[in-house]
Amino acid sequence: MLAFILRRLAQAVLVMLAVGLIAFSLFRFVGDPVLFMLGQDSTPDDRERITRLLGLDQPFYVQYAKFVGRAVQGEFGLSLRQVQPVSKLFVERLPATLELSFVAATLALVAGLTMGVYTALRRNSWLTQFLLAVSLLGVSLPTFLIGILLILVFAVLLGWLPSFGRGETVAIGWWSTGFLTWSGIKALILPSITLGLFQMTLIQRLVRAEMLEVLRTDYIKFARARGLTDRAVHFGHALKNTMVPVITITGLQLGAIIAFAIITETVFQWPGMGLLFIQAVDFADVPVMAAYLCLIALFFVVINLVVDLLYYAVDPRLRIDRAIATH
């Protein structure tokens, strides 16, 4: 058990170091920071002085180690475009992305679970056929098109909901929330549907497949033979056992939601981290890009680590298999 955890931890640290190396080399490849600071008509003496001052004359690995040291403290320098500390920009944008992702994930989970259970229990109803057809379409439609279609229908044609921005936000400490105002909640609806739709169809298909599988097992037949009500059999016995894979996939999909937020945020001009990254790519704003790269990698590494460890804790079969495989 301990060896497994240590191996996974070591792997996580290695991945972070590799991503850090990519982020670090961005700084080295894009432009000359000394020329950038001093301008073209500086004297060689000045340049040398600044080079030494910035530590750019030191060997590569020393500079990299210093970069990692600063990155761990969340220090990525100044944004070239907005001339503000990168950490400050991210702290401003973080609540927007997290609130959007949270609502989208909840929506995907609740709606996906309900639809999955329904389509498994009422296999031949017309609603099931309809839901399955929609889910096939949901997989084929790219996220940005879903967003555009929703804007077209609900913002342009019907005029019910806003098509961009977060609406009014309320600041609680450094966290700005859109949950407390009516316009903030209205602004959340379309982006969170856009972001959650793909995951929703995924969860729906998964729950349906798992549920159909479980319903065929002997203990369900036994539960029916005991004369339990349909309700108790379906929700007390069957659903419970479909939940383990669903929880795993949902956990893993949390990272995907934060990643896909880049697309949704661009469609809806949602002021989150994804939009910040896309704008940074446009302006070659290296410090912001480097910070985003490290941050998103950190999200994924942590989520994967937690899911792996949870899985290991939840499923005893995994432990036995590994024990046999390693001995």
Partner: protein, 307 residues
Amino acid sequence: MTAGAGRLRRAWNHDLAWSFRHSPVALLAAVLTLVCVGGALLAPWIAPHNPFDSATLNLSDGFTPPAWSGSGTAKYLLGTDDQGRDMLSTILYGARISLGVGLAAVLFSAVLGVSLGLLSGYLGGHLDAFIMRVADIQLSFPAILIALLIDGVARVALPPELHDQLAVYVLVLAIGVSGWVQYARTVRGSTLVEKGKEYVQAARVIGRHPLAIMLRHVLPNVTGPVLVIATIHVATAIITEATLSFLGVGVPPTQPSLGTLVRIGNNFLLSGEWWIALFPGLALVVLVLAVNLLGDWLRDALNPKLR
């Protein structure tokens, strides 16, 4: 002549052809794919206008709605965009770029993945462990995110004056690198199986070079699943390309793909010019759906368990 006819009849009676003739979905998907691919390939000849010839553009024709709405004209069947370019023509040219980038990226992915899978499975050892560990790690990130990050980093790292020239190659590289894992895993698995068979052992006994064994003996026997993965991957690659272009980090605006066209149209969505974004989007969905259905059919047809 008779030999040719015989071959034709054999192909017609082959399982795959039989299964194809008896699947209406596959036929429909194939027709749709053919229409899309044909339209894209023949764009310079069948497009009613040349959207990139600025001499024929007329700015006063800008924002013409589709022909069937009140103020549309038959000259522009699907309307025009802000610069007066005919939407139908830009869509045909755009599909050409979308398909080209998608296919090139899939080819790149497949070559990279199959080579790494062959090496990994046949040679084993530390190389195998390393390649598979990298594959595991890459699988824990969504492919589209990896493509976006590679593309973004490459754009910033390249000198600005080369951006537009190299953008398409960078895009193919980014999408290609983001998709190699599936090929490598599948090929590695089948290679491990084939490696133990007698014909491979025989080739080894007569002293053939390992590289020759991999390419001439193992490779032909592991390509079946690769074909299925590649077909489905084409749809994913087209979506990825469209998404990156929509985000503004894909192909340069001088060579708009379907994603770029949606991006342009998105600017005019709120002012009511819906056709500029909607038609390229629809074309993209039809293209992706057709390729997906074709891929699903191929997977089922090649799977002996389902026969």
